[in-house]
Every structure is written in C-alpha cells, then in structure tokens.
C-alpha cells in the first residue's frame, strides 16, 4: 500500500482465518484493493488518530468504513467504538460490527454507541461470502460517506 491515506476499508480482526476469508470474499468482488487489516484495537486507534506508526497519516482522509470485530486483544471492539465516537474529528466514520456473536448485550451496546451496522458472520461459507461481499459493495459503492 503506497499511502495509509488511500485506505477505504479498515478491517479490524484478530482471527486471521476470519480475516483471510473476509478479504477473500471482498477480493472476489474486487472490493479489497484498498483494504487495511489490523489485528487489535490499539493499533486500530493508532491508525484512526494518526499515532505512532501512522503519525504521518492525514486524519482528514478517513476510511470509507471500518469493519470491526468485537472480541479483540488489548482493547475490545466496544472500546474502539467509544474512542472514535468521542472525538469530533473522526466520529462520523461509518463503523460496521462484524462478529460471530449474536448475543443481545453486544448488539445493544454497539447500537448504543451509534454503530452504523451489526453483522453476524455466518458459519456457512456461501452465506459468509454473500454477507461480506454485499457489505463491501454497499459501503464502498452505494453509501455516500460523510464529508
């Protein structure tokens, strides 16, 4: 990737298999060209807020969507959402929760923090592919990001 600023999809996922399957699904639809995969919440925040490794990134060029797993090492997904939504510069970035859990408290907590969507990853491969590719299609091509 030439520049961190060209990222359109930020995938935050600690499970590398899931990440691979997700990227594979998006690639099949040619949607993963500008995808950055990070493995924990802290690094995700470093990227979003242009810290440490990403200090030279321009904060005014956010990704079009963040695909976020809730169960992450170090900082949990909910902590990441909370940090983003608390900062005026980045709070408008669309966040889609992509997780295995369909447990009520998570859904409830995520929506309370104004996430834009909540998707449960299906175990069935066809369903998973369908879900991921339509997700990418929607957020990259259909949705109009905030200015």
């Amino acid at each position: 990737m030439d520049s961190w600023d060209a990222v359109e999809i930020l995938l935050v996922e600690d499970n590398s298999e899931d990440a691979e399957l997700t990227i594979r699904a998006l690639k099949k639809k040619n949607l993963a060209n500008r995808l950055l995969w990070l493995e924990d919440g802290e690094e995700a925040l470093d990227y979003i807020f242009c810290r440490n490794r990403y200090a030279e990134r321009n904060i005014d060029r956010p990704p079009k969507v963040i695909l976020l797993d809730l169960k992450l090492p170090k900082l949990s997904g909910l902590d990441v959402i909370k940090a983003i939504r608390a900062d005026d510069r980045v709070r408008k970035i669309p966040i889609v929760i992509v997780t295995s859990s369909r447990e009520d408290p998570d859904i409830q907590a995520a929506y309370d923090m104004m996430v834009n969507s909540y998707v449960v990853k299906p175990v069935n491969f066809d369903q998973f592919f369908e879900a991921m590719s339509s997700l990418g299609f929607y957020w990259l091509l259909v949705n109009q990001p905030p200015k």
């Binding site: 399957l21 997780t99 447990e103 408290p105 299906p122 175990v123 066809d126 998973f128």
Partner: protein, 863 residues
Amino acid sequence: MNTNRQRRHPEHKDPATILRVWIILCVLLAIGLPAGVIWYYQQDTRKTREEVYSELDAIAMLKIKQIEKWSQERIGDSVLLSHDTYLIRTVEEVIEHPDLPGPRQYIIGRLNTMEFQYAYWNVILTGTDGKVIASAAGKMKKLVPVAQENISRALSSGSVSFSDFFQRPGDDRIYLDLVAPMKNAEGKAIAAVILRIDTREYLYPLIQWWPSSSSSAETLIVRREGDSVIFLNELRHLPHSALKLTVPLSSGSLPAVRAIQGYTGSYTGYDYRDVKVLADIRPVHGFPWFMVAKVDYDEAMKIVRFRTAVVALITLMALMLAVVMTGYVYRYRQRNLYVELYNTESALRQSEELATAIFEQSPISKWISDSDGYFLRQNSACRRLLMLRDEDVVGKYNLFKDELLISEGLTSLIEKVFKEGSVVRYTVTLDIRRFSSDMQGSPVYRTLDTTVAPIRDESGLIKYAVVHQIDVTEQKEAERELQRTSELLRGIIESSPLAIYTFDRDGLVMSWNKAAERMFGWSESEVLGRLHPIVTAETVDEFNELKSLVISGGKITDREICRVRQDGTPIHMSISAAPLHDEKGDTIGVMSVTIDITERRQAAEEIRKLNAELEERVRERTRQLEETNRELEISNRELESFSYTVSHDLRAPLRAIEGFTRILMDDFGPHLGEEGSRLCTVIRTNTMRMSQLIDDLLAFSRLGRASMHRHSIDMTAMAEAAFYEVVPEAGRGAVELHIEKMPFAKADRALLSQMWVNLISNAVKFSSKRERPVIEIGSRMDGDEPVYFVKDNGAGFDMKYRDKLFGVFQRLHSQKSFEGTGVGLAIVHRIITRHGGRVWAEGEVDRGAAVYFTIPDEEVAHG
C-alpha cells in the same frame, strides 16, 4: 293622603271676586281717565293762557316803549331845528325879506340835511299862517288842511306836538307830522318846523313786527273817533284797512273797543274777524292811541290741544296696554289654574287608582269592614284565599257577629280597633268554606294570621278597618314538622352510642348527649355552658388548634386524640368534627362525634407488636433470599459470559473449517478425487451440525435468563400460527391437522410461541414418514385445569425412555432417520416449567406420540 292633597292645592281667589274687582277697576278707569284728561286740559289751558298773556303783555310793553322812544327822538330832531338860533335868525331874515335868495338857500340846505340824515319823508318850514316857507329839496309847496290844523294847534300850545295819521289826496301813504313852533329871541312864534314821517317806512313795521313766528299774532293801534274805533295801522288779516276800518263802540267784546273804553291788561274776546283771541290792551303815552297785542285763541291753544291729545293718547295706550297685559296675565293665570287643577285632579285620580291597585293587587288577603263591622269590599287575594263571593259577604258578614271570633273571645279585642285605634293581631284556624252558600266536600281548614288595623278619615275618625289575612297553614305545618324532625333528631342523638356534643366558639359546651355522659363521666347538667371538661392543661393547645381549624371551615375526620375522663383515666378516642352554622351561615361553634377507641387501641397495640416480630422474621428471610439471589445473579452472569464465549469462540473455528474446506473443494477439487470430495463434504456437514448445536444450546440457555411477561393468550390461534410457520405452504396439503378450540392461557407470548413451534415441528418431523400424517391439537379438562396436547401418528417412542425425552441433546432416533439436535423438547420442558406447568409425553413405537402440558393461571414456581 287627604291632608296631602289639601296641601298640594294652590290658593285661588273666587273667580267672581276677581271679576268684580276687575269691573270696578274698569269703571274707575273709564271715569277717571277722561276726567284726568279734562283736568289736565284745563290746567294746561289756564297755564298756557297765562303764558300767552304774559307774552302779549311783554310784547305790547316793548312796542309801546319803542314807540315812545322813537317819538322822543323825533321830538329831539324837531327841537334841534326849531331852537337853532342861526336858523331862527335866518328864518326871520327870510320872513323880513322874502326875496333874498341867500337865507332861503341856507334854510333849504338845513332842511335837506335833516331829511337826509334822519330819513324823514320831508322836512318843511312854514309860517305861523301855515304857508310853506321852505321844504327839503323844495318838494312841498302847500300843506293839506289837516297839516295846517296841526300847525295852528302846535303854535297855540307853544310846544312840540304830533299830528294824527293822515293821508294826502291822491296819495296812498299815511303820514304823521311832528310840528315844532319856532320862536324868536322875544319868545314869539315866527314859524313852525314840520318833520313829516311816512308811517309805512318807520312806524308800521315797528308796530307790525312780532318777536316770534306766529300765524295769527298781530299788534294794532286804535284811536277813538266819535262813537267808533278806528284802526290806525294796516291789519294783518285785513289789507288796506289803515285809517279805513272803524268799529262802533257798541261791539263790546272787541279788544279794540275795550281799549277805547279804558280797559288795560289781558283780555279774551273776539276781534274784527269775529275770531276768539287772547289780547293785551295798553294805552300809548303821548298819543291818543291804544295798543292791542293779540293772538288767535286757537293758535295759542293749539299746543295745549296737541299736548292734551298726546297725553290722552299715551294714557289711552297705556291703559289699553294695561288692559291687554292684565287680560293676558289673567288668562295665563287662569290657564295655569286649570292646568294645575287638572294636574291635581289627575294626581288625585292616579293616587286613587294606585290605592285601589295596591289594595286590589296586594298579594296579602285584605278586606275592609265599616265601623259597624260590616264587610265592605275585598281584594283578589282575599277572594282567592277565603273563596268569598262578594254577594255572600258584602253587607252581610259582620265582624262583631262572627260566632267563631266570639267563641275565641276575640270580638272585644277587635272592637278596640274602632274604639281606640289600636292594631289587633290574632291567629285563627277556620274552615274556609263557611261563607260559601253551597258547602260541599270535606272541610278545608286554614290557619290565618290576621291583622285588623283602623283606617281614619281626614278628620281622624275611625270609619273603617282593614283586615289583613295571611295563610300560615303551611308555615304552622312546617313548624310542627320541624318540631317532629328536631325531636327525632334529638332522639337519634340521645340514643346514639357515639358521644355527640357541641360547643361554641369559646369552647363552652352547648349540648352533650347520653353517650357523652357515659363516655366521659360528666352529666349534661354538669357541663352545659362550661368549658369543655375533658380538655386538660396538656391538651388545651391541641384542642384550640383543632377548634379553630373547624371554625375556619375545616373538617376533622377520624382524628385520634387522647383526653381524660372525669375519673382521671385517659381515654383514646377518634373524633370527627364539623362547624355548626346558624341560619345566616355564620359559624357559631363545633359539633363533634366521638368514638371511644381505648380498647381498640390496646388490641391494635398487641397486633402491632406481633406484626413487628413477624416483620423481623420476614426481614431475616428476605436477607437469606437476597443472598441466594445474589449468588444466583453471579452464576447467571457467569453463565452469560460462558454463553458469549461459546457463541463467539466456538463458531469461529467452525467457520474456518467450513470456509477452508470449501476453498479446498473449489480450488483443489480435481486433485482430491471422488473419495476426497466426499470426505470434504462429511467435514462440512459435521461443521454445520456443530454450528446448529451451538445455536440451539445458546437458545436453550437464553430461555432461563429471559424475563417473562404473562398475558392472556388465545392458544388456538397461536397453535394455528405455529403450524403455518413450521409447515411451508407446499407441504400443508400432505398433513391432516385437527385443531380444537382451546381455553386461553396466561403466559409469556414469545416463550409460548416458541414452545408451540417446537412441539408442532416435532410432530410434523416424526410423522413425515407416514403416508397420511395426522396431527391433533387440543385440550381436555383435568379438574379445573386445562391440559393441552399435541398428538401425531408418527414414529412414536418407547415409553421406557420417556424420562430421557425432555433432556438436552437427548435423542431417541438416529440422526439418519430424523435430523435434530435433541434440544427441541428440552426447550419445551424448560418453557413449561418456567410457567409453573407440567409436561409429559405418551407414545408407542410406530403408533405416534402425544405431548401434554398444563399452564397454571399464576406463576407457582420458577422453572
């Protein structure tokens, strides 16, 4: 009213008197006014005459004086000539030498000077013989005889003398000669100087001149001539009369005659024209003349007549004005009189109408009796009240002969009305049909509050009495009713087991019932009018507070207070109090109803103690329960966390296995071969089952945690809905479904719906291998409790395994014969037990199965 009416009457004189006065006034005026005018005329005439006389007198005197003065001057002139020594000598010279021209010329010159200087007609010098010696301008040659007589008379008298008026033949002029004898030094008359005067030029104007303008006034000079009077000058009213007109002396009333006869002064007579004149008569000294100054009586009196006419006219006009004014004033007063009379009459009429109307329309029954007690008239209220017909009572009924009144002893009282003028009031009860001639039906008794009052005439005599009667039957009835009611009320209060008492605003007891006597120990007679006895020094503040609360309009209901009885023991009581109002609505005190709750309080105290103990035990139990709950909560939270981990962490590897196996098949399918592909499929199938197991397990574990809300549920409708959900539309024709009408159940909608879905899908699944699957859904009653069931004709089960039927992951059939995780019935069991119900199954292998369950109305225990 009569006195008022009189007072309002204005004081009027009798019209006849006014007329009489008026006539007398007119007569007096008719006589007095002409008399006054005449008197005025006479007065004015007299005064005017005197004025005229004095004027005439003055004029006459003036003229005489002027004539005399004129004559003196003329005499002076003559003396100047006749005594001139040089002239005398010259005349002697001429007489001596008549031919000498010189002296004659001198004489003529002197005579000319005289004539010219004093405007004489001529100045002549004659000899003693009367022959002319010389004359001014030489005009005169010979004298007329009259003139010669004058000369001889003057010479013989030796003094200057005037001639009479005379005329010369052939000459109209009237002359007057003044003759002065001229004497020589020895005193011998030698000549005569004659100054001839033309009277028209000097004397007549003097005589005829009048100092004021007048149409008739004139002055004339007369002289006696024999038995006649001759008028010497030109008369104003008779031209060319000078020396020609003569009047005989016998015409006595002529002023000229009177003058000749020696009368001097004012005189009223008739002049030569026979016109009445006012005249002044005077002799002229030095001449044989008499002067008469006169003016026509009519002219002199014209002003008087004018003035009198004016005065008469003004007086007449004033009189007429007065008459008109008086007439007008009279008419005006007369009209006012009639207006006032009319007003008075109409006021009188109105007041009578008013009085009649007041009497007639009064709502109070009234009738009028004369002084003998006889009924005179009644008003409409009386007709209505007593139902009296005028023909039955007017002039017939007598107040003093009414037997009812006599028997009640009221007659003598009523007589006082007429005798003493007092007002009498009494109440009688009578049958009002007594006066009607046709008494029918039952008596109608009325109680009448009756007032008899005197009516006086203007002189103060009592001529009538008015009898007011007010029907107080209902009032009396109401009073009796009130009395009955209050006796009843009193009875209730006295027999009440509650202490009922009242006290006034100061706290003084007004009433005290028997229960109060029993409750507090004081009898009514002990407390009436005293301060409320149960209030002690400790409770007086509370008492006052409650009292003022109630007096200010508040109410006290079941307030529990403590007071002290007469014997000193405390009494607990519950009071209810309300303000007492008088008829005006003012608060006059407090009414209190009291219950003795001393015993009740003691009982309540015991109960309270027991309750306290109980509560302590409950609290202890609650603490234990709360602890258990806390433990439960903790374990619940752990369970939740566990479920989450299962949900999240177990599914991720499954997804990887599934995903990558699929990728393996897609990408390397040709290399795997047929067996390899089959094995991949086995992996994927098992992965999916694992995923399903996890989902079911999670759903099962969620059941225990979800909160429950019970509603009344139509079980029939819910079972039907579940069937339609479970069986796709295409498969519905294959299944024979019988749903009976089932009783409603009180349960959680979501849980129960899940239960029906699970039961029906089980039934459908296990009967799916039958040619004709039959599913029956219904209920039966077990005592009061409905037992719902779902039956199928499917694979059934062996009853010896029925205990395992509802366990988690327990399956009685192979995965191959019937798919499933073995959680469905476990969930059913969990839901029913959470509702406190029972669930059981009956079945036989290949003969179908039936699941029964109950749902109690209320929750009995948690599952």
